[in-house]
């Protein structure tokens, strides 16, 4: 069963997709991608895609530090066993391994296009979801408390040149925008990727005029929303229903899969979108974690199959996006009595795209009692450094302080 990545450890460089026999066309696509990048101007930035794993993804399950014996002391029932054992981790580098349910990540990891950053996160000490959302999504250094009320991606858009005037710059996939994009310019939430202007079609143009008139003159607070709503009618001019994923990519039959597929279609359209955010919830597993065959495994399976499909689909556009997966905090190092894990601190992040991948970047603090931060994995890599490296090196940001106030960038080699 060599084509089942869950049954064996991967051979470096021999990933699932090559085993699937698609290598020729994929290699050609990758080559095209490189030349396309060279041909385009410096103004062409990759689209920044954020997948926010909301409510605390358990990074100690997803990316298992199986080389740290303390893990098995703290989580005798829940820790994924070391590689080679039943339901054991899929080894990545002799110290870290993936949960079996996250096996699809071996594809981009094996190709060197997925970087994993462990013991990372927001250094704010809060263990409250809602405070942690704010700290991470606002990137607010909290001096004074709660001084910032715009998202870091909002400030990224504000501090970089707009594309074509009036065009849409950011999209939050969902009914409303996440804090990451709070008050972002030319940005809107998109729940359905295809829609038409509601009401009697014969008078649609007149009603649109009237609404623009009303929202422009009477309601400046809603004016941008109204404009964006009209533009949202067919985001990027894409026919989403007809879109065919490439390179044999198979998105999972789930909400996340469908959304990620639409995002791929949108990026390929080169419609000028600069930031896309997706939310992925359900990780708050205080009870019954289910790392092998329960809830956590199901979430990881859907998430990572979606990411793998996106990666394959976008192989010809490898430098057109940078996808970051993060979560507001990790979970408590020690398992609780409900076969779950409470709120914690340090966590694992993923960066997918044209990065120096195939590696787990970590300054591993260890899981000994002395090394823990209030009982949780400590943070040795600030998530702002991971994002900051992308922003400065690839996304044209010259003044990172405008996006991450009171923060000095320490690159950790995500890109090189």
């Amino acid at each position: 069963m060599k084509d089942d990545p869950r049954s064996s450890s991967p051979t470096p460089g021999l990933s699932r997709r090559t085993l699937l026999g698609a290598s020729t066309s994929l290699a050609a696509a990758a080559a095209l991608s490189g030349s396309a990048r060279a041909a385009r101007g410096a103004g062409d930035k990759p689209v920044l895609v954020q997948v926010f794993l909301r409510t605390g993804m358990d990074g100690l399950t997803t990316v298992v530090p199986h080389g740290d014996a303390d893990l098995y002391r703290l989580r005798p029932r829940l820790a994924i066993r070391p590689p080679g054992q039943t339901n054991g981790a899929l080894d990545l580098d002799g110290f870290f391994g993936l949960a079996p349910a996250a096996a699809p990540l071996l594809t981009p990891f094996g190709d060197g296009h997925l970087a994993i950053v462990h013991a990372s996160g927001s250094i704010d000490p809060t263990r409250s979801h809602f405070e942690a959302f704010e700290r991470m999504e606002y990137a607010d250094p909290r001096v004074p408390t709660g001084a910032i009320h715009s998202g870091w991606a909002t400030r990224y858009l504000l501090h970089t040149a707009a594309g074509a005037q009036g065009s849409l710059r950011g999209i939050g996939v969902g009914a409303n925008l996440p804090l990451t994009l709070r008050q972002a310019p030319s940005t809107l939430p998109v729940l359905e990727f295809a829609a038409s202007f509601p009401g009697p079609p014969g008078t649609a143009a007149q009603r649109q005029d009237a609404l623009l008139d009303a929202y422009a003159t009477r309601s400046p607070v809603l004016h941008a929303t109204a404009l964006n709503a009209l533009e949202a009618l067919h985001v990027g001019g894409v026919d989403y229903d007809a879109y065919q994923p490439e390179h044999g990519a198979q998105y999972p039959d789930s909400l996340f899969g469908a959304r990620l597929r639409n995002v791929a279609a949108l990026i390929k359209q080169e419609a000028g979108i600069e930031v896309v955010t997706l939310d992925y919830g359900g990780w708050d597993l205080h009870a019954r974690l289910g790392p092998i065959d329960g809830r956590m495994a199901a979430l990881l399976d859907d998430l990572t199959r979606g990411l793998e499909a996106f990666y394959l689909d976008m192989l010809g556009h490898l430098d057109d996006y940078l996808l970051v997966c993060l979560s507001e905090f990790g979970r408590h190092a020690r398992e609780n009595g409900s076969d779950g894990v409470d709120h914690g601190h340090g966590n694992a992040m993923f960066v997918l795209g044209d990065v120096a991948g195939g590696r787990v970047l970590a300054d591993w603090p260890g899981l000994s009692d002395a090394a823990l931060d209030q009982g949780d994995l400590a943070i040795t890599i600030d998530y702002r450094d991971v994002l900051g490296e992308l922003l400065v090196e690839r996304l044209g940001v010259t003044d990172l302080a405008a996006i991450f106030p009171q923060h000095t960038l320490t690159p950790h080699g995500v890109l090189a």
Binding site: T55, L158, H286
Partner: protein, 547 residues
């Protein structure tokens, strides 16, 4: 501004309207001819607008808001109902400000039998978790007995109550507490537990005593399940509920507790679990299991809790066990008083609660041991609701309120499981679907980025050709009579009549003018389809998004 509008192809199509057989149309009204075309002048006008608008207006929000009505009674009706209607306002006028408020503060003295009759269509409301599990098992195809039918029933019932009930403030408060003590029906078995939770925890206490509500909620199967306390056991406590109890239900995130308190509260709640005997009528109800409880003293917010064996027995009131001791400490804490005062003022008056009023309301909480009605009396005064009080500001309608307000404005009600629920998903506030224990957010910043789903709902609801399943609206002819719009000769002043008689006067003068212009320029024949076209626009305007 490319692609801002429908493509030219779409604009030129001028879709022929379907053959009409309007189910709610009593008299045959003339079928319109070709709809008005997007002629060259129109398009030029539109382009001029877009050129103007694209000059940089896209970025950021500006702090301009609509205004509060000069009449405090009108604002009271706007704030304590799930949608202003002229009839409700006239009733409030006849009772007077205080009379109306006192009536609404005593919901169980209001005869609501008409609504209760409607609710018999939702048998799930009266069922125990056990009954729901047995009844909605999907074993009889063609009947409403799938699990999804149970969910549609209790979600729709929320809209039925909101649109029909004469106990409007009670409905507002149930919504408030359902946010405050959020449970998500989509979490595994939660859908079995939610109806009983509404029936026995939220509704009886919504206008009662907060400490009683807090306790009922803490030991409710629905909450024990949602925040996992049913699995919280001695030896290795799990703090999901403990943390949210402190952060979201009582003290607030900066209310003066630390991580140690969270752990100790979790220990106090160990052993509160669910009855897990599927054969018993009390299946999945809250129960205390002493064998799972961490005995011994605890220290919570500086109070020592002795940790004596609990006196509670299944089905009997709990008195002085550890969990109740924690709830007593929290309910009496000044931070709880301030946290609740702030949230209630935000819900009923203004997104920015003034400090002096927070102090007043918090003091009332402490003086009355958490009497919810007493707090509302301090908040909902004519002086506070006067536009120049500095204590009231326009509130952006959340999606459910927008939906129920429009249904009520059209003389309508939800009376069966309804397709309107899908619109609420699109608007971002599907009932009982909030995954986060915060409940749905309160104010404009969280909702102000989405309009299209609201416009879509207005267009769908007000489509005279197609009934929205599960929603009963006033007869078209009655609406036309109410706004005096039976013929083309009645175009003058129509916008103002729509605003005053249907929309509660929320449209400011500039929007009324604009709506009137749309009425005036609407091509002949100006029939009922044209009037409903104008109503779609009216409900989509900025003014109606606020209350």
């Amino acid at each position: 501004m490319q692609r801002l509008l429908l493509s030219e192809e779409q604009a030129r199509l001028n879709f022929p309207r379907p053959v009409r057989n309007p189910p709610r149309l009593a008299a045959a009204l003339p079928v319109p001819g070709s709809p008005m075309s997007a002629g060259p002048a129109r398009r030029a006008h539109r382009r001029a607008w877009l050129a103007r608008l694209s000059g940089g207006a896209l970025g950021g929000f500006q702090p301009l808001r609509p205004s509060v009505h000069p009449d405090p009674l009108r604002t009271l009706v706007q704030r304590v109902t799930q949608g202003f209607t002229s009839a409700e306002y006239e009733r409030a006028r006849s009772l007077g400000f205080e009379g109306y408020l006192e009536e609404q503060l005593e919901p169980f003295s209001i005869d609501d039998s008409a609504t209760e009759a409607l609710l018999t269509r939702f048998p799930v409301l009266e069922m125990s978790p056990r009954r729901i599990y047995n009844h909605f098992d999907g074993s009889q195809p063609g009947t409403e007995t799938r699990p999804i039918d149970a969910v549609r029933q209790f979600k729709s019932a929320l809209l039925t109550r909101a649109t029909s009930s004469r106990r409007q403030l009670q409905e507002r408060m149930c919504e408030f507490w359902s946010d405050h003590f959020n449970v998500d029906h989509a979490k595994d078995l939660e859908w079995l537990l939610l109806p009983e939770h509404e029936r026995t925890v939220i509704r009886p206490h919504a206008l009662g005593s907060f400490p009683a509500l807090l306790s009922a909620c803490a030991f409710s199967g629905a909450m024990l399940y949602y925040l996992d306390n049913w699995l919280n056991v001695r030896g290795a406590p799990q703090n999901n509920y403990a943390r949210e109890l402190l952060e979201l239900h009582t003290l607030g995130v900066r209310g003066g507790y630390n991580e140690f308190d969270v752990q100790e509260v979790a220990r106090c709640f160990t052993g509160w679990t669910l009855r897990d005997d599927p054969a018993s009528a009390g299946w999945l109800r809250g129960v205390f299991d002493p064998a799972l409880h961490a005995n011994g003293p605890k220290l919570v917010l500086g109070h020592v809790i002795a940790g004596s064996p609990p006196s509670g027995r299944p089905g009997q009131p709990v008195e002085r066990d550890d969990a109740q001791a924690v709830l007593d400490i929290l309910a009496a804490h000044p931070s709880t008083a301030r946290f609740l005062a702030t949230k209630l003022i935000r819900r009923f008056l203004t997104p920015t609660p003034p400090a002096d009023l927070v102090d007043e309301v918090a003091a009332t909480y402490r003086a009355t041991q958490g009497d919810i009605r007493a707090m509302l009396r301090v908040i909902l005064t004519p002086a506070n609701l006067a536009p120049d009080s500095g204590r009231v500001a326009p509130k952006y309608r959340r999606p459910i309120h927008f939906l129920t307000s429009l249904v009520r404005a059209m003389g309508g009600r939800v009376d069966a499981p309804t397709a309107a629920l899908e619109h609420l998903v699109a608007m971002g506030q599907s009932p009982y679907d909030c995954e986060l224990p915060t409940g749905y957010p309160e104010d404009f910043p969280a909702w102000g980025d989405s309009l299209l789903p609201r416009w879509s709902f207005a267009a769908r609801l007000l489509d005279p050709d197609r009934v929205l399943p599960g929603v009963e609206l006033a007869l078209v002819e009655d609406v036309l009579i109410q706004i005096e719009a039976q013929g083309p000769a009645e175009r003058p002043g129509l916008a103002e009549r729509i605003n005053e008689r249907l929309l509660g006067g929320m449209l400011p003068p500039a929007e009324v003018l604009l709506l009137q212009q749309y009425v005036d320029e609407h091509p002949a024949p100006f029939d009922m389809f044209a009037v409903y076209d104008c109503l779609v626009l009216a409900a989509s305007l900025p003014g109606f998004q606020w209350h």
